[in-house]
Symmetry: C3
Subunit: 400 residues, 3 copies
Amino acid sequence: MFDNEKFQQLLSDLKQLKSENLFGKDFLLTWEKSIDDLKTVIQVSQILRFLRNNNYSVKAFDSGLAISIFRDKSTRTRFSFTSASDLLGLQVIDFDEKKTQITHGETVRETMNMISFMTEVIGIRDDMFLGYGHQYMLDVAKALDDGYANGVLPQRPSIVNLQCDLDHPTQAMADLQHLVNYFGGFDQLKGKKIVMSWAYSPSYAKPLSVPQGIIGLMSRFGMDITLAYPEGYDLVPEIVEMAKANAQRTGGNFRIVHSMEEAFKDADVVYPKSWAPFHIMQERTKLLKAGDQKGLDELEKQALAENAKHKDWTTTDKLMQLTKEGKALYMHCLPADITGVSCEHGEVDADVFERYRIPTYVQASYKPYIIAAMILTSKFGNMPAVVEQIVNRNRKRVLF
Amino acid sequence: MFDNEKFQQLLSDLKQLKSENLFGKDFLLTWEKSIDDLKTVIQVSQILRFLRNNNYSVKAFDSGLAISIFRDKSTRTRFSFTSASDLLGLQVIDFDEKKTQITHGETVRETMNMISFMTEVIGIRDDMFLGYGHQYMLDVAKALDDGYANGVLPQRPSIVNLQCDLDHPTQAMADLQHLVNYFGGFDQLKGKKIVMSWAYSPSYAKPLSVPQGIIGLMSRFGMDITLAYPEGYDLVPEIVEMAKANAQRTGGNFRIVHSMEEAFKDADVVYPKSWAPFHIMQERTKLLKAGDQKGLDELEKQALAENAKHKDWTTTDKLMQLTKEGKALYMHCLPADITGVSCEHGEVDADVFERYRIPTYVQASYKPYIIAAMILTSKFGNMPAVVEQIVNRNRKRVLF
Amino acid sequence: MFDNEKFQQLLSDLKQLKSENLFGKDFLLTWEKSIDDLKTVIQVSQILRFLRNNNYSVKAFDSGLAISIFRDKSTRTRFSFTSASDLLGLQVIDFDEKKTQITHGETVRETMNMISFMTEVIGIRDDMFLGYGHQYMLDVAKALDDGYANGVLPQRPSIVNLQCDLDHPTQAMADLQHLVNYFGGFDQLKGKKIVMSWAYSPSYAKPLSVPQGIIGLMSRFGMDITLAYPEGYDLVPEIVEMAKANAQRTGGNFRIVHSMEEAFKDADVVYPKSWAPFHIMQERTKLLKAGDQKGLDELEKQALAENAKHKDWTTTDKLMQLTKEGKALYMHCLPADITGVSCEHGEVDADVFERYRIPTYVQASYKPYIIAAMILTSKFGNMPAVVEQIVNRNRKRVLF
């Protein structure tokens, strides 16, 4: 059953990487990480998946908490984080701001120490407002550094960004693992054409973190990136600039077009997904700060009206035919707005989605392993040694 | 301390049963299961209880999730499911539909895969509307089959029905275990007279799943069943027909009467409990589907008025005196509507309930073991071997 | 790394204590416990902390539930209870009264049995109304006794009071551990001057349990206690009387003053914290019982107006200079109302709080260990033997 040759290959590939830089660090933005860091997380994720599938228990803790903080609704990320934490031996507790005394003037600095005395990891989703999510995570990190440095915390919990206003690294990394497996290795990514395209959705204020995460990460590996959207639906400019620079440095390519047809032509991979325009998100943040509900309602109406002009930005079979040999890989972070299924007009036609449904589920299936790898690499410095210990101790996950 | 003779008897009884049909199957309705399936679950439940009471850890997983989905309020079933899952080594996470993106048009097919990448069991309560609960579980099962067959899920989570519109198998099976222990074995059930009786409650729209579960299950073991209710308070006709046929086939008996006095005469066991009439539940489902709140309010008023005509359907000491030697076993799934305690007029007089209070608690105490047995038998094919492994590995639950 | 000499000292100190009286008992009020009981909990807490910091797993259960019941919001106690339970191997489940059928007339007696079939500990916070919280815990205890005596429950879950109307023992005991470590031993507490002072807060109806817990506990160890508050802000008289009697018996001192300046003079420790006057809490309970919302609103207005007269009861640097050598230990159970930070005027000036911020975090850090010690001592009779087993089995918490 156990394919030792495959395992030795996975381990040997891991040993090629300089993995110790992840140790003791949070995982907040992929662009703060080195190529070896990113490859290490992917490789550890592959190994954890391989070992679990071979009934090795990869438990790393005999006790300890994993805290999730969701400032927005979540299904798949919530369950991925729980799965990953449980896999490593941690009990998950949700930090529900409604059940706490936060509103009574408690500060982030204090609260984060109060909940972390026996905590190994904190997963945070805060993606609602531009300029807030990433900053919140930095505030939490600072609080934890302070508590750890002052001897309040016996361990420094690692933070895993479960989506912020800038990046969605657990998604982008799971997507990268999907691409690596699809194309057969990191070295196969170079020059492959991936299209990150806006698509129409009947909803409003979808975060920018997925498209930004994709262009920010895939540009690191020499991919040929096309970012496509209707005029006005820009992303955060600094991240677009960064992606351009990455592409240039890695021998990839980066261009922006305003036509799905043009974008899809000869694509190896397409990732059509809705998002809100950057300027709308900025305006929205301002209005929210001012507590201007009337202004917000007005903005939503405007934005939906603007969206409605672009109903033709939808993934049809005809469009898919334009891709390389008509069979580019379709990706989506899910849930997709599927025309005639979850809404009248959406991001993708039902027949296209149905054809790629299972691949999108497989794409999602990497996320628990990516999160587990992020936790593990932040907690242990010598990954090859950890992997060897897991195999040598021969502890089973399913016990009978 | 450890009664090895008793253990050997339990194990030897288990070995008599053909238990492998439960492997890889969901537990949705008792009437889909063979007699050996049902006896196996009871027997494994007995063994798990015996082993836990002797401080054996019966943990079967070193990691893995158990998901609960409660579409109705629940105390005892929630805690029973959590206890059972924890006993086997699984971390429980509640799938709270309010915290998810389900409302954004996500399908059951997709969501169930998204939450199941590391999930061993999903417990579902969906008992509110006739024609929906069981169907929902079938939809979930189909989604999981699809994901497993397509390589999305590395394991197929088992579904345990924690109450649907048709059956309440964890309750009925716990009740069966109670009866087996009370009478001293499965072979002692044959011919024993059990009364499943309607009783008055000041509330409305109580599910039919408990009485249906009881007549559907106890008729399999040759019991002499009397179903008693005021005219009009019928159950789902197909299930009544099935219970009749079961009774005929197993040498038992099945009759319907419309008088508690008549029903209680010479009974060995009485189970007086309120439910809503089938036709009211049908009407209610129709109105709910149509979103007709006015109609629903009207229906509730009607139903409560109809109920109020039957306040005399209550379990009094006088009634209990009619049973065999005046000391039939009183059963209830709890919480009971107790006259003068939890309501003005209810299902049972306070003095009767108090006399049988502890036995009803004991009855309830089997549920965690039944659920654990359902999970275990769905996950492992060779139950006697599993039990022997548990004893041989000699892992303690309480470690000091 | 492992300081065996220190460990042997901790163990030998534990062995001096008669610890078996805690076995099989709930921890509801510190004043029901003997001095040896209290010292044992502190000592076990110290040992658990020492062992965890040296990467020993102190897990005591291979499975089992810990139930939390919070009838008031909570952050730090919720996480402390979860941390402690997880540390010992228990899975935590919150008993959320909104998700249960409690409202349908179920009794405490019944519910507590229903949730406890596999439960090792129940932590309860019920601090909102005078005369209710402690009584509720006694009711739960009685229900569990009944179920255990009648063979319904295979183990008697221990109750840990996570704050009631009378005492806040997990807080007071953590505070005591802080003092023991600060002064260098129990024998150093005698004669040390501690000030439990009222302080102004812009909120209303803060529970009395913290000041009562402090004077009730610290008076057991011969401390020189000053209770300071504006006239009218009395605590529950019986507890004040008890503290007086304790002080007399242990060679300590107890006095009440109505001036912060007077109180702070030469203090070794100050604990300035807001609370509601006893008579207001009594009135409030009466109005709540009567469902008199108008009366409650009126009372709140009155109470806040009364509070506002005492804005000068705040912890300033000038006040701190009055303490012994100007450097008394400042304590707070957190979160503090900090002037200019969490409110306009509050319990403490920002510069004072900032100076003692880390010590207050350290003070809080003992709570998970105190709770774990309360659980452990209630579950196992021979603590030294348990501690020796933990070290001898050499199970690691962090596995790599």
